[in-house]
Amino acid sequence: MSKALQIVIVTAGLTVAAPLPAAAANGAAAWVKEYPRSDGSPARSCATCHTADLTKTGKHAKTRKPIEPLAPSVNPQRLTDKKKVAKWLLRNCRWTLGRECTAAEKTAFISYIKSQ
């Protein structure tokens, strides 16, 4: 998926003022879905690093570095930088799901985070 298209999708997701309820619900479910690894390492989900509660500080699974809460309600900077959102969705979908997320999945995740 090209960089420009990623930005478009993210912009679309962010522009919608209120979180789309259906999308947010999908995002909530997708957040904790586990993706097993073929090499025997532990299964991964978004919650592995960000925890299931987005208002809490997370922790990088390998380096243990603290990750600031994702919820805009406690961390107002979140979701304000489109490029940053696009960058992390690209990387983290690849790392967690093993592939890039679809446009719908990205919108769902963004809606879910927005609602927290």
Binding site: H60, K62, T63, R64, K65, K83, K87, R91, R94, W95
Partner: protein
């Protein structure tokens, strides 16, 4: 004149004896363990061993998941390997992909400041003997790193919940982020002060 001369001479002899005794007792180098940390810590503030990170983009991008490792901790050739597009997508088990502009700018910064070009000898030491035989270079696989850390048991690092890995420099090296890796400033979480 003779009396005061004798007194002075005796005083000098006494001072000599006291001085030598004091030095001999104060210096506990008889033990296997080297106590020089306690004895001399605090005379001089430790200087930097490695040039601190001076690129804001590098600090932000490459410090997002782990301490932003100073460029002086690996030779330029190693950094070139790390910064290829493929290597970033498979970055030590994670995905650290960057946009081309950012990637090239950071690669330039790393190349220009690698260990092989460092002014400080402790930084240059990281360019001696390669960086391991794995698919990607590792700071922890350099000869200098291994020599300096070979006495540290797994219980203090890998099996230590607060540290986790030898790659987690600033968990123990209190001045790591500023480029100070001096052994006087090592505090391993959960253990008493490290005696070399």
């Amino acid at each position: 004149m003779n009396l005061s001369l004798r007194t002075l001479s005796l005083v000098t002899a006494a001072l000599l004896a006291l001085g030598m005794a004091g030095l001999a007792i104060g210096d506990s180098d008889e033990d296997d363990d080297d106590d020089h940390d306690e004895r001399r810590g605090g005379w001089i503030k430790p200087g930097k061993d490695v040039q601190p990170v001076s690129n804001a983009t590098y600090a932000e991008e490459c410090g997002a998941c782990h301490m932003a490792y100073q460029p002086g901790l690996l030779p330029s050739s190693a950094w070139q390997q790390v910064m290829s597009v493929d290597a970033l997508a498979a970055h030590y088990g994670d995905d650290a992909s960057l946009s081309d502009g950012v990637r090239l700018a950071l690669a330039d910064y790393l190349n220009a400041n690698g260990a092989d070009q460092a002014r400080r000898s402790r930084s240059r030491a990281f360019s001696v003997g390669g960086a391991g035989t794995g698919p990607l270079p590792r700071i922890t696989a350099t000869r200098y790193f291994r020599n300096e850390h070979d006495e540290i048991p797994a219980s203090m690092v890998v099996n230590n919940a607060e540290v986790g890995s030898f790659s987690n420099c600033n968990a123990c090296h209190q001045g790591a982020v500023e480029g100070v890796y001096n052994e006087h400033q090592v505090k391993i979480p959960g253990f008493p002060k490290w005696e070399d």
